[in-house]
């Protein structure tokens, strides 16, 4: 289609956008669109350059007022149309169905409107953009809704001093001060100890397995990788049943936080292993060669070159793994078993945990217990949020933007100390 044809076929008063600039005559352009051309008089400094307006927006971010108007109009007319058809003409009902119908009609009208007023190709583009943006918005919306709902339910009833110091030993439904006499401290202790134990046991295994898969590439590493992948699909309740039937029914262990952490290790291992393996894979092989050419044995290469290079990724993997297990409920059901009282010793007797408090209390009839369950959920979410913030902080490349004070490995890096033990030679020299 030539530009002239476009001008002729378009209705009067409608802005025709074409990608070709030939609708304007080239030589007789009075003022340049850009400000880059310096002014002829030498009195003032030349004007700063300004971006040039293009005849047709190409990038999705070039979104002007007319485009917003088209979208709003499409949304509104879709609402009216669907309302008439959905509730008046046909006797359908249900909010979700209405919403879905509205969204589809909205997409159709967006396409139609854009095709009418702009161009057909732009219309397809616009519809895809709307779908993508609304998917992202839905995602964010759901998360905000969950967080907001729990916060809304939990925060007004929280007695902060009780929540973090008391257990539910003295709980009585008739107690008018139930919320200030009860808390979830026993569950916080339990979750903290169980997760710490699981990390201490699981992470060395996971990192070692990842090193075996990626660095050693020894016998059967493909099989091991398949098994690890399959293991990450283990339903978490099965992990709990496994520990229960293997260790608790056989009286090797009693119900305890330690048994729970063993079940959590089963969940933690495959996910951390896979992420660490991916992280190790992106370490350039030239670094390994360089290390070997300097006379380093293979374990030295892994220890001093590969792992430090992948350090931030490994720490992120561990923190994400922790975030994964901290909210697991099913593996705890018949391992930690849950408890109403503070139990500091993870190795004997039943122990509480935040997910268990949520699971058991939210089903109760007493409103106070439901409030406590929401408070536990709030604490759990705050924990996960803190972990994610930590993960973001530590996944930043080391030394960005500033000089390090001293050339000493991992001097100022307490997380690396926790998760990556000090190399042998250095511990000797200390």
């Amino acid at each position: 289609m030539t530009p002239d044809a476009a001008t002729q076929t378009a209705p009067e008063g409608v802005l025709v956008r074409t990608t070709s600039a030939s609708t304007q005559s080239f030589p007789a352009r009075p003022t340049p669109d850009t400000g880059t051309v310096p002014s002829t008089d030498d009195t003032g400094p030349p004007a700063p350059p300004r971006p040039r307006r293009l005849p047709s927006p190409i990038r999705p971010s070039d979104f002007g007022t007319p485009d917003i108007l088209i979208l709003l109009a499409a949304a509104f007319s879709a609402l009216c149309l669907v309302w008439i058809v959905f509730y008046q003409l046909t006797s359908l009902s249900g909010g979700l169905g209405f919403l879905i119908c509205w969204y589809l009609v909205f997409l159709g009208l967006t396409w139609f409107g854009t095709a009418q007023f702009v161009e057909r190709q732009v219309a397809t583009d616009r519809v895809v953009a709307v779908v993508v943006v609304s998917a992202a918005m839905l995602m964010v919306g759901i998360i905000i809704f969950i967080v907001g709902w729990v916060t809304y339910k939990a925060v007004p009833t929280i007695h902060w001093s009780a929540l973090f110091t008391k257990d539910q030993k003295v709980f009585q439904a008739a107690d008018p001060n139930a919320l200030s006499n009860n808390g979830v401290f026993h569950a916080i202790i339990g979750t903290f100890e169980q997760v710490m134990l699981a990390v201490l046991m699981g992470v060395p295994f996971a990192v070692a397995t990842a090193i075996y898969l990626n660095e050693v590439r020894g016998f059967g590493s493909r099989t091991v990788r398949t098994v690890v992948t399959a293991m990450s699909g283990t339903p978490s309740v099965v992990a709990g049943v496994f520990i229960y039937s293997m260790l608790i029914l056989t009286h090797v262990l009693n119900y305890s936080g330690f048994a729970a952490s063993l079940a959590l290790v089963v969940i933690l291992l495959p996910s951390v292993t896979r992420v660490v393996e991916e992280v190790l894979r992106v370490v350039p092989s030239g670094l390994r060669e360089a290390s070997q050419a300097l006379g380093a044995p293979e374990w030295r290469t892994v220890w001093s070159v590969v792992l430090p290079t992948a350090r931030s990724g490994v720490v992120t993997a561990v923190l994400l793994g922790v975030a994964r297990i901290v909210g697991e409920t099913a593996p705890l059901l018949f391992t930690a078993f849950g408890s109403q009282v503070i139990n500091w010793n993870a190795f004997s007797k039943d122990q509480g945990a935040l997910p268990l408090v949520i699971w058991s209390d939210v089903r109760q009839a007493q409103p106070v217990l439901i409030d406590l369950a929401f408070q536990a959920a709030f604490v759990l979410m705050a924990l996960v949020l803190i972990l994610f913030v930590l993960a973001r902080l530590f996944s930043r490349p080391r030394g960005r933007g500033g000089k390090r004070r001293k050339a000493r490995p991992d001097e100022d890096d307490f997380m690396a100390r926790i998760f990556i033990p000090v190399p042998i030679e250095e511990s000797e020299s200390r």
Binding site: L287, E289, Q292, L294, A296, S304, P308, A407, E425
Partner: protein
């Protein structure tokens, strides 16, 4: 083939016959390669190379791609055997001791025969100073004076003046040419007797290339240098000796001609050498 441990014939008082175990610092060594062949997955890629790399001299290995220069270079410090499916034959003697002989360990050998790679590869998780000291750290040797060694190595690598105020910065913060000189300094810090360089300038701009060539000339009296290069001018500029490798069609790579650089470039005896150094092929 039978590998015979040669009699203890050290070239100097500081050279014990068994060079592993003791860390002899500093003095440049001589490499004799005798009957070196190499296979990858059973395919012969390098046939019977006999070459002497003179002490304190720069030897350039030239030749078209795929003629086995790099493979030969990697055989010289036992990096060849790292590649899966790689095999070799022949003897490589460092000051008379076969590095593939019984009792010789690859790790020790690589400390005496250092290597610089085509792509600059400083360790990104280490600072400039840590990079220089990395080789010593791997060997678990603590230098008598860290700071002196860092300064000495970086000066030899021609980088000291540019980085002396930023030793605590990460190695990756340097430019490509600086990174390569850091890698040279890192290799020199362990005081190798031989330094192998596998096309060290092919990823660098002309200015950085000149700086590195200058560095090579400066270190040549302290360490024997063997350099693989595709750049004829570079070979002419930096090397004392030259070996021309060629793999003819469906043939493994061989050394066609070796000798003083002036001779190889000035009056080569073999027609193929003449063609190659004059840009007729390859």
């Amino acid at each position: 083939m039978t590998t015979t441990l040669p009699p203890a014939a050290p070239t100097g008082p500081g050279h014990p016959a068994q060079f592993t175990g003791t860390h002899v610092l500093g003095e440049p060594g001589q490499i004799d390669a005798e009957g070196v062949c190499a296979w990858f997955s059973g395919r012969l890629v390098l046939e019977t190379v006999n070459l002497v790399m003179e002490q304190s001299k720069v030897t350039a290995l030239i030749g078209p791609s795929g003629c086995g220069k790099s493979t030969f270079l990697r055989i010289l410090n036992r990096m060849h055997e790292v590649v899966p499916g790689a095999q070799l034959a022949g003897e490589v003697r460092l000051d008379g001791v076969d590095i593939y002989g019984p009792g010789q360990r690859a790790m020790e050998t690589r400390r005496h025969i250092g290597m610089v790679f085509q792509k600059p590869n400083p360790f990104p998780a280490m600072t400039i100073a840590e990079n220089v000291l990395a080789g010593l750290k791997f060997s678990r040797i603590s230098p008598a004076n860290r700071d002196d060694l860092i300064e000495e190595s970086l000066t030899k690598g021609g980088l000291w003046n540019e980085v002396k105020d930023r030793l605590g910065e990460l190695g990756g913060a340097l430019s490509g040419g600086q990174q390569q000189r850091l890698c040279i300094a890192r290799s020199l810090a362990v005081k190798p007797r031989v330094l192998l360089m596998d096309e060290p300038c092919s990823a660098l701009d002309p200015t950085s290339t000149l700086r590195i060539e200058q560095t090579i000339k400066e270190i040549a009296n302290e360490v024997t240098v063997v350099i693989v290069t595709h750049n004829m001018q570079q070979a002419q500029r930096v090397s004392d000796y030259c070996a021309f490798f060629l793999a003819e069609e469906n043939q493994p790579g061989r050394v066609i001609e070796a000798g003083r650089t002036e001779m190889i470039f000035g009056e080569p005896t073999d027609q193929r050498t003449f063609d190659y150094v004059n840009g007729q092929f390859g």
